[in-house]
């Protein structure tokens, strides 16, 4: 049973067609990656899935997005997070800069029953990202880029999600932090988290993922297991530097 299926999705920003009917699916417990150059439509597909309201979201012209077999095209974004347990880590992090690290995490429990004791889950986040524990009471604006990215992931986890969507998490990170972050994602996946990862860094993404799709100007040009894509000469040439 597929968890998420995107079928013939056509999406427009105003008059500009951004996706020309793409198909992909994600099975539970998998890491799937969408790779592609700038403007290929990666972020657009994510925004369409998380149902962000206009003006951010593109307009779905035709096609369907199925979550566990049901269409979510009419579902408001708050329900997507609350009931479908699907959380987005947006490009550029979008953390609440004025609030402290801890306040950011507390705010993420917004949709959940407030009677639950969250202390174990906060501890889990701090286990995954020890740097955040050190900076618990700092204003999150003052964190470095990498720490902000950790916070964005931690915050998404605090929504109680079982399906994590990440939009270019490695952007602007030092190589060491990048590998740290990807190791954490791997660990999350081993604990049962389904992950849809969007990346420009194809090499890194394909080494983490089980399966991948290659997007090019709104169309899927290649798909398959990660090993297969890593071996694909076309992909190699276009995204992996020969």
């Amino acid at each position: 049973m597929t968890l998420l299926a995107v079928e013939n999705l056509v999406v427009k920003y105003g008059n500009i067609q951004a996706l020309h009917g793409i198909n992909f699916h994600v099975n539970p417990g998998e890491i799937v990656t969408l790779i592609g150059a700038n403007g290929a439509g990666k972020t657009t597909s994510l925004y369409a899935i998380t149902r962000l309201p206009p003006p951010e979201a593109p307009r779905v012209v035709s096609g369907d997005i199925l979550f566990e077999g049901n269409s979510i095209l009419k579902t408001p974004p708050s329900t997507v997070v609350k009931d479908l347990k699907l959380a987005l880590v947006p490009e550029g992090r979008h953390i609440f800069g004025n609030l402290t690290v801890m306040e950011n995490l507390v705010l993420a429990t917004y949709a959940r029953d407030q009677k639950i004791d969250f202390s174990k889950e906060y501890q889990r986040i701090f286990d995954l990202f020890p740097r955040l524990a050190e900076r618990k009471d700092q204003r999150s604006e003052s964190l470095s880029g990498g720490e902000q990215q950790m916070l964005a992931v931690g915050r998404a986890l605090m929504t109680g999600c079982t399906f994590l969507l990440l939009d270019e998490p490695s952007m602007g990170l030092a190589p060491v932090l990048k590998y740290d972050l990807f190791r954490t994602l791997k660990r999350l996946n081993e604990e049962g988290m389904t992950i849809l990862l969007i990346e420009q860094n194809a090499n890194l993404a394909l080494h983490l993922a089980h399966r991948g799709y290659v997007l090019d100007t709104g169309e899927i040009v290649a798909e398959g297991t990660a090993e297969k894509l890593l071996g694909n000469p076309e992909v190699k040439k276009a995204y992996l530097g020969g």
């Binding site: 309201p53 997070v81 959380a87 979008h94 953390i95 917004y110």
Partner: protein, 338 residues
Amino acid sequence: MFRKYTVQLILVTLGGIITYLAYEELIGLYTLSVLMFMGVNIIMSTSLNLVNGNMGEFSCGHAGFMCVGAYVSSLLGVLLFSKDKIFGPPLLNPDLAIYFFPLVIIAGGIAAAFAGLLVALPSYKTRGDYLAIITIAANYIIISSIENLNVIGGSRGFMGMKKVINAMEDIIYLPWMVIWVFVFTVATVWALRRYTSSTFGKGVAAICQDEVAAEIMSVNTNKIKTITFMLSSGLAGIAGGLFAYIIGYVNPGSFNILKSTEALVMVYLGGMGSLSGAVLSAILFTVLLELLRPLQIIKWVVIPLLLIVLMQFRPEGIMGNRELSDIFPRLKRFYKFK
């Protein structure tokens, strides 16, 4: 144990003292009306602070909702409890006014809350400066509609509320207006504190910071915006109702953009997002207006000038976004603002 109720005790004592002084006529009518306007201003500034400070939108048509509340509660009060040349004899026995008065004020608040939808609905898709323009438009729509309703006096205004108050005082002689202004002011501050510290309040803070991030954290931004705008304008409506009954006369001209600006000045003077700041600045602003009264029309040169000085030297307002208990941590033993 005793400490837990300190604030409640202080409030009850304060209310009691003011009521007693008013009852025995130990303080003059002038001082009394300044005190009552202080209460109205506190409601105005704290409720506007919810939208401008906590939610980070810029509403500059707050007086419009005050106008709706003022008119609805005046009309309702006069219709039900007093003989009027437009509405004829009272629908209910004027003796009942004493019980129904708070309900009449609240009805004005509810009507204003629905008028708040005029801003809340466009706010789903509009933000920042564009929403500010919509709030000004809402203010004008409300004023102009009432000016053109000749049945209720149009721009000449509407009066007769004093009779309702007199009917109340005939039953039991107490300074009713003082009591109700005090009660509604305390209730407003309490309600706003509860709201901003609730789960909804977290959603409001999230919208203020980053709307996209709020949305992906499962905050239903449209719902929160609707509730917040309706609460804010509803409270402004209550302020309007009280204002109308204090003066005994309403006309649409007194709820124009200048009145909205006064509310804005109080919010910025107090500090954005600080509830105690909004209360302090409302008190300060009312006193300042009265102190500068001898200057007459020049008052409106001096007060904006003070605003410029304030923005120059302390742009974050008196309190910034802190509460009283952040500045004097000892107060936390008695009361938590957040």
